[in-house]
Amino acid sequence: MEKFIDHCCEKCFNSEEERCDQFVECCLSGPLCHENEECAAMRQAIIEKLAHSPGYLKH
């Protein structure tokens, strides 16, 4: 999972054919449709890669 749009696992269904209404929240604190530590860690890795300072996420 390099970008938020990438699927974390086969349980993520967000696609052009079927849009997920929780997609934005899922990027920030997902996954929301299933529980999986590895899937959560993938999102966290993207966040840690991009957030360059302590204030970055306090918007």
Partner: protein, 594 residues
């Protein structure tokens, strides 16, 4: 995971100062030290402090380096990124304290600002939608999609947001008119035709945070019942257009633009229309004509675009900065937004600070801040210690505020009452050496040239005013000229078809109002107090300083200078054409004016 993040400002200003060369040098240096995987380079949008660009900020410690060149990069890598030592000589030098400052938050230029619209500019990579989402992006859209469209309109109306493009009309009311217009097709138009000389607010927002503008457009579309938008952006903004295109592609990939957005059933499409750069196309009806492929000319209103706009359909037109405020209002609420600013002017305003001020650049301030705070705190005062004379607020159609108005609050109503206008946010500072009559002539020459010619008051009135001002600055002014200017200006203001004509006389009216003595000096004394109007200057040579080098005599096109070699020269006033060539050539500062 990266150990360091280096943010290089890649707004148009910093790019022209060498930001890309700095980026290339940094990439090469990181490769040389095999540090590509340890340090991330972020090419951000405009950070605002254009005067000190290119900017180079190291995170997570937030060390602010300025005026960086490619030659500085090896030292920054070696000392800071490898050894962890701050490179003192490249830090910002506070002109007041004489101390080096490490964090940008401790620099007065930034600390007096309230960066809401610019919250992501100079912070994120504008070409990465993930960064926008991480900073709360598209949460406003998400909230809007769960609300009744009428309530979204109500939220924007309640926030008190007023248009940032010039007139300051209530954005919520505009949306309400479009919402109430019944039609199976409606449009949202984003006005990015930023035509004021010296203004670059909208360009910077588009370059630095294009998704914020897109999100605002999407929320407007959902609110009024539209499924399609046009962004009308001038072709002179290639970087803004490129980043906007990238943002649209990414938003489409992420399902923020397209069919069934976030599974809400809301469909939306965004188009870009490149404008040819006519000033009048910033006027909304002229802009619509231009999108339709017609000549960019305004038409009488009503009907207003909210009722009959693009291709005859109800159209909601807002400018870039207005739309960039909207996601915050939906995300954080109308009450939060309206807590910033004054009673009649909510939120913040971005200004492009230019002219004779130490810190030129882009600043965002809460409505109600005084002109003094902007010019002397954020702007760092007047260059070379000279005296403040005036600030032109609101672009070429704005007004000039004198020293007596330095404590005027900057908000829509106070500025209008003083004869100026918020306009789109251009702020040109002038010092004691600026001739206010010549300044009025300069701005009027711009608006006269940009007048589309459709209505007589603007077409003829601006021409007549310009001719009168040219006469005055050439020393041919007559008694009654001031009254004539006021009469024409008032007529043009009251009877022109569109905003361009209605506001074009503002520089004339405010300079007559606040600097009448300068007009009188030009007309009755044939004198330019600021020493700028060439035809009104008398050139002479100071015998004490003249060495008789003959340089001035050689360059004089009118053969008006006499004198023997190594003897003081004199200027024959009857022959002098006041071109100033002798003054420019003299190495001994012996040529003077009075």
């Amino acid at each position: 995971m990266y150990e360091k993040h280096v943010l290089i400002c890649a707004g148009t200003g910093c790019i022209s100062s060498g930001a890309i060369e700095v980026q290339d040098a940094l990439e090469a240096e990181l490769k040389k030290h095999n540090m590509q995987n340890k340090v991330r380079i972020i090419m951000s949008g405009c950070h605002g402090f254009c005067e000190k660009g290119p900017l180079f900020i190291v995170f997570p410690e937030d060390i602010f380096y300025c005026e960086i060149t490619a030659e500085d990069v090896p030292e920054l890598v070696e000392e800071h990124l490898i050894k962890g030592n701050i490179v003192d000589r490249l830090l910002y030098l506070d002109p007041t304290t004489g101390q080096r400052v490490t964090s940008h938050e401790d620099i007065l230029f930034y600390s007096k600002q309230n960066r809401l619209v610019l919250r992501n500019c100079g912070v994120i990579d504008p070409e990465n939608i993930d960064e926008y989402i991480l900073r709360g992006g598209y949460l406003g859209l998400k909230r809007a999609l769960t609300m009744d469209p009428f309530d979204v309109v109500g939220e924007v109306k309640k926030s008190g947001l007023r248009g940032r493009g010039g007139a300051g009309f209530s954005t919520g009311m505009k949306w309400e008119f479009a919402f109430n217009s019944q039609n199976n097709k409606k449009y949202v138009v984003c006005n990015a035709d930023e035509g004021d000389p010296g203004a670059f607010m909208d360009r910077s927002v588009l370059e630095g945070d294009p998704h914020a503008v897109l999100e605002g457009i999407l929320i407007a579309g959902q609110a009024i019942g539209s499924d399609e938008a046009y962004v009308y952006v001038r072709a002179e903004y290639p970087l803004a257009i490129r980043r906007l295109r990238t943002a649209i592609e990414q938003a489409e990939e992420y399902g923020m633009i397209g069919e069934n957005i976030l599974n809400s059933g809301f469909n939306f499409k965004v188009n870009i229309k490149e404008g040819a750069g006519a000033f009048v196309c910033g006027e909304e009806t002229a802009l619509l004509a231009s999108i339709e492929g017609e000549r960019g000319m305004p038409r009488p209103r009503p009907p207003f675009p909210a009722v009959k706009g693009l291709w005859g359909k109800p159209t909601c037109i807002n400018n870039v900065e207005t739309l960039a405020n909207v996601p915050l209002i939906l995300r954080r609420g109308a009450d939060w937004f309206s807590s910033v600013g004054t009673e009649g002017s909510k939120g913040t305003k971005i200004f492009a600070l230019t002219g004779k001020v130490n810190n030129t650049g882009l600043c965002e301030v809460a409505m109600g801040i005084t002109i003094r705070e902007i010019v002397f705190d954020i702007g760092g005062g007047i260059r070379e210690g000279k005296k403040y004379k005036a600030v032109q607020i609101g672009g070429p159609s704005g007004g000039c505020m004198p020293e007596s108005h330095l404590d005027l609050p900057v908000d829509f109503d106070s500025l209008t009452a003083a004869g100026a206008m918020m306009g789109s946010g251009g702020m040109v500072v002038m010092d004691e050496e600026t001739c206010m009559v010549d300044l009025a002539r300069y701005f009027l020459a711009f608006t006269q040239n940009e007048s589309c010619g459709k209505c007589t008051p603007c077409r003829e009135g601006t021409k007549r005013m310009l001719e009168t001002l040219e006469r005055i600055t050439q020393g041919k002014g007559q008694e009654g000229d001031i009254e004539l200017l006021e009469k024409i200006a008032t007529t043009v203001k009251d009877s022109s078809l569109c905003g361009l004509g209605q506001t074009a006389p503002n520089p004339v009216l405010t300079t007559v109002r606040y600097f009448k003595d300068e007009y009188e000096a030009h007309i009755f004394d044939r004198r330019c107090p600021a020493g700028q109007c060439k035809e009104l200057l008398t050139y002479y040579i100071d015998e004490e300083l003249c060495t008789g080098c003959r340089a001035c005599k050689k360059v004089c096109p009118a053969d008006a200078i006499e004198g023997e070699k190594k003897e003081p020269h004199v200027i024959i006033q009857e022959k002098c054409i006041a071109c100033g060539a002798c003054l420019e050539r003299c190495k001994f500062d012996a040529v003077k004016t009075k």
